[in-house]
Amino acid sequence: MSRSSNLDNVAPDDIIVTPKPKSINPTKTTISPTPPSSSVNSAYRQKINEILGHTKHPFSAFLAHPKVFSFKEKDDQEVILLVLRQHWFTNVGWIVIAVLMALAPLLLRFIPLLASFPLNYQFISVLFWYLITITFIFERFLSWYFNVYIITDERVVDIDFNNLLDKKFSEAKISMIQDITSRVSGLSQTILNYGTVYIQTASEVPEIQFEKVPNPEKVILVLQQLRQEEEQEALEGRVR
């Protein structure tokens, strides 16, 4: 037989079926699947609960185990452990501007800019100004409120809304996390204990940043626990 015809007969993609040897001993041996080590799992969760504690204030920037919170891309089985927003102190800048904007019409008593206009025009101008102020406050609040960083039992998620036409969704599985770094710099961050957590990942998104979040050291501890839990699950072959 030539070599080429031989190769045609035994194609590499063909499935080679080897006949099963007839069982000599008919005793049935069943290998039970590895029982889920729920005690190990719960130990990790217990530690996470101890680290996080509880948050009562719904407007908190550090929402531990939120009951109501959810997001569109969440899986049914996924458990949200922590929701982070930027620290409240990051809002001080725009709040000061908003207060100044609200008080600005009072200056018209001292600096009569609109004095040459009729009263009805002055009234509408002030009304316009206050509506613009309200919009400014509302937009800034929405931007703070909806830009969230989420830690679930399976992944870390970063949801950013810059405006109506720009939504950025980044996620990385816990098992893909390689390095976690935090940076607390400056007077306000040191005093009020907030900073940026950098999460290096092996996934498509190389880095996820949790910017100016409260208690960065707690965030790191939680992620460490979750990583250990994931490693344990991988060892036991319980990866979801």
Partner: protein
């Protein structure tokens, strides 16, 4: 009143009405934005935020009417 002043006030009225209309369009965008954000991230206060955005839309519409009536 001088005719020049009348023309000036008319021009101002035009700009105010135009501004109010643009503001109304912008407030529609805000409603849409709030609804979209709420669909993506749902939390306890989302219904209040949506309600506020609609209230704001109502104010913006009132501004157009008020500008047309008062000026």
């Amino acid at each position: 009143m001088l005719p020049f002043t009348n023309y000036l006030l008319l021009a101002f009225k035009f700009f105010f009405v135009l501004g109010a209309v643009l503001y109304f369009i912008f407030s529609i965008v805000i409603v849409k934005q709030t609804t979209t954000m709420s669909q993506n991230v749902s939390d306890k206060f989302n219904p209040f935020l949506i309600a506020f955005s609609y209230l704001h839309l109502l104010f913006a519409f009132s501004l157009i009417i008020l500008t047309l009536i008062i000026l």
